[in-house]
């Protein structure tokens, strides 16, 4: 940190030790004055919320008002949150996988396929269900809890399950000659993640092309009923979020488990299958 490297250490410890009780005390004191949790008369419940509760369905076409706020009223925040997830994937790629083109030492157990007939069969049955359920959660996000973030994570976990059992997917199949690779390679995951951000921002820019503000889906020429148009566009941006999240989960798993070689193509481990 600074020049007074040793003299300042004790001081810093004391300051650090004092900061936490101070923060705790402050939060407790402040919380005591806040409105009761769930108080219908509190400012949080009376100022902006009534419009969300009463008009969201009519204005945005979203039956689930949480979706209406996330994807429409405050869709710009959600674009930002998607970018945060994308940033995490990008950061992992730069720091872990591509550090000077040196391969990471393979993490034992993650970069090698393992398993048996039982695990293999179970995965074959489970993975399609997981992936399908992910898409269901995405599409059903309008009228029930769910949406792009949750669906994307589910989809990503399906990909991880395949990679754990059959080894990482790369351009040329898995380590198991009898299993045809399904799912994107590391490069493919990165492309998915990028495509999601581009899709989300692209829908926003398309709205600008038709004369609206950025992300004002109502101006898109998708029909005559604005609420319905907004509903369709919301599905579009949820799908974009889905792509980014699923892609980023794939990127995170692959960068942590296998790393990346000079050519920029993930190659998995040097050794062949351990049969």
């Amino acid at each position: 940190m600074g020049a007074p490297r040793h003299g300042g250490t004790r001081m810093r410890w004391l300051l650090g030790a004092a900061a936490f009780p101070a923060l705790f005390l402050g939060l407790v004191l402040g919380m005591a004055e806040l409105p009761e949790f769930g108080d219908p008369g509190s400012p949080a419940s009376t100022h902006v919320s009534p419009r969300f509760i009463e008009d969201a369905a009519a204005e945005t076409g979203a039956a689930n008002m949480v979706t209406a706020v996330l994807a429409d009223y405050r869709g710009y925040d959600t674009l930002g949150e998607t970018a945060v997830i994308f940033a995490a994937g990008l950061g992992c790629l730069v720091i872990l996988a591509a550090a000077g083109g040196r391969p990471n030492p393979p993490a034992p157990g993650m970069s090698h396929p393992f398993g048996s007939v039982i695990l293999d069969t179970a995965t074959r049955i489970l993975v399609p269900v997981v992936l399908l359920f992910a898409v269901y959660v995405l599409i059903h996000g309008h009228i029930s809890p769910g949406g792009g973030f949750q669906g994307g994570v589910l989809f990503g976990s399906g990909l991880i399950m395949m990679r754990l059992v059959w080894g990482p997917a790369h351009e040329g199949g898995t380590h198991r000659p009898d299993v045809t690779a399904f799912g994107p390679s590391l490069r493919g995951s990165l492309i998915l993640a990028c495509a999601g951000i581009l899709g989300y921002a692209g829908i926003g820019l398309a709205a600008m092309a038709f004369g609206g503000e950025f992300l004002n889906y109502g101006t898109l020429p998708l029909g005559s009923d604005p609420a319905h148009v907004r509903e369709l566009a919301t599905l579009g941006i949820e799908a974009a979020v889905f792509l980014t999240v699923a892609g980023t989960v794939g990127v995170l798993f692959d960068t942590i488990s296998i790393g990346m070689r000079e050519s920029g193509v993930p190659l998995g481990s040097d050794r062949g299958p351990r049969e």
Partner: protein, 509 residues
Amino acid sequence: MRDVLPGLLVALPLVGAALVPLLAALFRRTTRAAALALHAAIFAAALGLFWSAAVAGPIRYAVGGWPGPWGIELWFDGLSTLIAVLVAGMACFASFAQTFGPDPDRTAPGSTPLREGLLRGALLLLVGGLLGIVATRDVFNLFVFLEISSLAAYTLVASGGGRSTVAAFRYLLAGTAAGSLYLFGVGFLYALTGTLNMDDLAARLPSVEADAALTVAVVLIAVGLSIKAALFPLHGWLPDTYVYTPTPAAGFIAAVMAKVSAYALLRLLGEVLAGTDAGAVVLEIMIWLGVAGVVAGGVLAVAQRAVTRMLAWSSISAMGMILIGVGMGSALAITGALFHMAAHALAKGCLFFGAGGIRALEDGDEVDRWAGLGSRAPWTLAALTVAGLSMIGIPPTAGFFSKYYLLSASITAGGPAGIAAFAAIILSSLLATVYFLRVLEAAWFRAPAEAERASSAAPAGPVLPRPLALPVVGLALLIVLTGIFARPFERHVLPDWETGTARIAAEAP
């Protein structure tokens, strides 16, 4: 134009951040041209907004077509567009510097077009985050973009490998704590007022009766943003981060990153929360901490042997000066703070590009390494000298005018705080003279060490490669131009600040 530019300004960097890595992944070729074109387009949008706000008044932009407080609004006045121009302009230089080598400082072998694309994507993402903070009129949206900019910055800092990874991790710890504190504060404000929109907040705060909760909210927000702005004594993350960040990114991060957080402090504490009792006290404390930071940063800069570390400590001194201006809050002080943001960003960007390049090519960071550089590369060194003079505050450069405004504001403010600020700024200029002249003396008047001369097939000619030399010289020219055009700047930015605070004061019941 006014209908389109705000959306483009915030959308383009995010589009670019995904597009550039995508192109790199698809085609496996260099993405230099695409990235430079995107940065140029963003800069053009920022300039257009600056011009538009100056000519036709501030722009309020409802993203998604939902007006505040239900939706998220952007706000472009003289202040925000000025910082936007600064961020987007520095990003153009940084993007150009990234052609210095896809891999920073050429220390890591085997870089690939994909890695280059990822780093360019990270820079665009950082620009997007910073512009989002600058543009927004919504306190939660500010947090979202604070996170984007932080994550992108950690990536760029860590991309050097080795020590820079450790520096990035420490930055990450400090930044995460800062973000959490800010978010706590926003949570309190929302519970108290039911709104996240800054204008709406300012209007509803006077009727809030919960004093303790409001105080906690103000303090949390102030501490959180002060960590990001490296206000003394919350600056611990800064020196290592600036020193170990790869050069192309260091020139950008050192120039604008902390300043955007200082701008957020100015917006929130100086404008939105200024009417609260706690806000006034916090601003007063900020002046004193700024004074302490100005002095401590200067003294520790003198104590450093490595040039980049000296520059990092001098940044802490400069951030102290900016926050003194924010704390005083008078129109003159705000002008000084904003002008110092601009002047210091130009000078520090110039110096970090230059010092980082020299560190990489001379294989060392000590002042002695600069010996004799003046005769080898007179133009580059002349540019770095201009930046150094601006940091000291010699008249034709931008640095003189920012210190002039801040000193005038200190005299006008009076009182113990004003006197302390006045003395600290004068002292910091003297200290800056000491530490910059030491480097410049070595560069211009000292011959390289004997051993150096013997061993060196020391190449005559430029010491910096073109991707770094061009930003260095360009920024030096801008420093002088900014100094010359200081008066028009003052006339443009000040009225917006005064009408802005007056409007909020008028809306308060």
